[in-house]
Symmetry: C2
Subunit: 161 residues, 2 copies
DNA sequence: CGGCATCCTTAGGGATACTG
DNA sequence: CAGTATCCCTAAGGATGCCG
């Protein structure tokens, strides 16, 4: 237990889930491509133009997203046309939606255009606006300043060795 | 209304809250510095070593975070020592915590070390684990695939012109 | 339409050394 | 301890052109 604090820095550096998540989705164009995918975009050209990146960059990032399992490439065919591929979110990718919603609502609050947000996210069942909120397993709403940080299993196990 | 779809791409490109948010916090080291700030880190050296970046980079990013209003620099003094500055989260910065929590839980699920997460986030009041969840204004829990995307005020106003 | 190859520019970031 | 200055390397990304 004595080394816990001494090792903390090194551990968090190499073993932080946020850092690991950022290794996958830590750059702008990747997140924007996922935004598009979550909004229903499926075709290569649409991704490139809507995100505002060049085709080579779109190709590289999409390929990486497929390799990382966030997008799935699958064939489809419009009637009378030849088969093409489209990119759709996997489960792994869809679970990043809360990140996107949280980012969007921060942007709406702190970096919005004067005219207001260009998009509203609504609950499909009832039409009410959707937000990302913090909630504890006990069912309470949690504010950002009500968090405690505790050592998790990874850190405790490492310390035991 | 006819131009709405034609303009949509250009609008989303320049006027998306996610893109604007990413203009501020869209890179790895910035997010990791905010992670540290939200965990209670306040001093320059601690930021650099815990995030695992060099001092010049830490200096540049911290300065930018202060300029963007996410961190505040304020003087403090340990008893018997000279005055120093520390970096603390502003409200604007603290409101990014849901993004960090959402990223962390994605990383815990999809990119964790075999030993498990190194940190647990608990509700200060009751000790239960904290998660980022989606909820609509009507009070319903919302799944990532239950979202509707509707044009917001910014897009509608632009179209009216 | 859905890409890949090539070339070039810029931004991010490490190492080292130095200052208040 | 809290940075700044300098140098250098690498990754991200735009532009253009070509290919199935």
């Amino acid at each position: 237990m004595t080394d816990l604090l001494a090792n903390r820095d090194a551990w968090l550096m190499t073993n932080c889930s946020i850092a690991r998540a950022l290794d996958v989705v830590g750059n702008r164009s990747t997140l924007l491509l996922l935004r598009e995918a979550s909004l229903g975009t499926r075709r290569f050209d649409d991704f490139a133009t809507r995100v505002g990146i060049s085709e080579p960059v779109a190709a590289a990032r999409l390929k990486q997203l497929v390799a990382d399992g966030l997008l799935e490439r699958r064939p489809y065919r419009e009637p009378g046309k030849r088969t093409r591929d489209e990119y759709v979110l996997t489960d792994k990718g869809a679970q990043l939606v809360p990140v996107l919603v949280a980012l969007r609502q921060w942007g709406d609050t702190w970096a919005a255009d004067a005219a207001g947000p260009s998009v509203r996210i609504a609950h499909h069942d009832c039409g009410a606006e959707v937000h990302a909120v913090l909630r504890c397993a006990g069912g309470h709403d949690v504010e950002p300043d009500e968090l405690d940080v505790l050592p998790g299993p990874g850190l405790l196990r490492a310390d035991a060795e």
